[in-house]
Amino acid sequence: MSDSRQGSRFRTYTEIVELVETLGKGVVEQHASDVDDKARFPEEAFAAFKEARLLSAMVPQSLGGDGLNIKQLCKLCEILGQYCASTAMVYAMHQIQVACLVNHALTSSYFQQYLADLVEHQYLLASATTELGIGGDLRSSICGLELEGDNFKLVKQAPVISYALNADAILVTCRANTDAAASDQVHVLVKTKKCEFEQIAGWDTLGFRGTCSSGYTLTAAGHVEQVIPAPFATILSKSMHPVSHVLWGSLWTGLAASAVKKARQAVRHAYRKNPDMPPVTSLRLSEVDELLFSMRGGLYQSIEEYQGLLDGDCDDAFTNFGFSIRTNNVKLRCSEMVVDIVGKALMIVGIMGYKNDSPVSLSRHIRDAYGAALMVNNDRIRGHNATMQIAMRDS
């Protein structure tokens, strides 16, 4: 079977959610600790995802995928975030790349075929936007396509590329050609089999260790048909920027929810031991649950707005300042609230949460949570918002 059909019908979204829940509770959670300890790629989880054809969840049904929309993908990331934030982050980053292709590359027969192949072989896609000398500023590149006839060569100094060595292809931002301006960018798909990787930085980090985000000098070659047929500015405003913020926000919400769940277990445990006196920690639990409620509320509102705009097919709306600010707000709030929530959960769980070897350890949650604000530094994002806020009249 070369697509996601079971017999004569496509599997339903509900079936996919159940499948992801099962895999989350199973293979993902089982290996989460080891993935974190060894800072290694979550290979068992991804073998299972490929087997379950989850890497093509967002590819249109006409090409053999499940045709899920962003709102549905967000739910899957939220579920996975509860079990292993690194695994969820790799899954989310892959889907961001798929979204860029689905929204901007389907006018090209090359990319139609590529997505059909992705469905068949369950290719994993990575991303290289960050560049030495530029950092997280997505709208500038130093490297450019070295064109020779219909072929190109590309060398990018990339200080962070998550799971580069486990990916089948990488979507790279670069200048349209070596003479182009820094902001005249394209988004090009390069196949890892045809790339050379010279490692320039390792990935022994506090958290998100399983994303294996080492740095490389990436040397790639290919054919110009591998360039997505849309300006990168459009890909960024309509897809990469909003999709990454809502998918990241979703998995961070899953991470926060999982910490609150551990806090809840601790409160129940205390209450069972001493049923006459409601523990102080139950008040703390109510408080942290309110925070989770707000985090989720803001996230869901943002997902609804974005999904609505996509369904409404109004391209101008994606560059609207208000929409950009709200899309940034969801990243800023979720990435900071996740730290607050897991910290408060630790206060409730207490010493057992502080231990690395306890079943209610929150060590990985806390370490992962602190990475969220750094994935494109919040101050950089706030800086963009600060500029746009000057022009806005209302919130």
């Binding site: 301006a181 902001s183 005249d184 500015a233 405003s237 101008d316 709306a317 560059t319 609207n320 300042f321 208000g322 963009h384 500029t387 746009m388 000057i390 022009a391 806005m392 009249r393 209302d394």
Partner: protein, 79 residues
């Protein structure tokens, strides 16, 4: 009819890499170097000059894409 004034404001606030007076009506201002910060400065200057207020829904790339687009926006605001 506001083009001359707009070009003047653009050259003062747009920080473009080219001379605003030499741009075609439909030239892409972002390709000419307009950024989000200079967009905001330009907007504030237009508001002061013509005593208008841009509504939040107008604050998108399309409004500031070219001198022609800016003229259309301004005419709408002055109506």
């Amino acid at each position: 009819m506001y083009q001359d004034k707009l070009r003047e404001l653009l050259s003062k606030h747009g920080k473009l890499s080219v001379d605003a007076h030499g741009l075609e009506t439909e030239s892409d201002l972002y390709e000419a170097g307009l950024t989000s910060l200079t967009t905001v400065n330009l907007m504030l200057a237009i508001e002061d000059e013509f005593d208008v207020e841009f509504s939040d829904s107008m604050l998108s790339r399309k409004t500031f894409q070219s001198i022609g687009a800016l003229c259309d926006a301004l005419e709408e605001l002055l109506d």
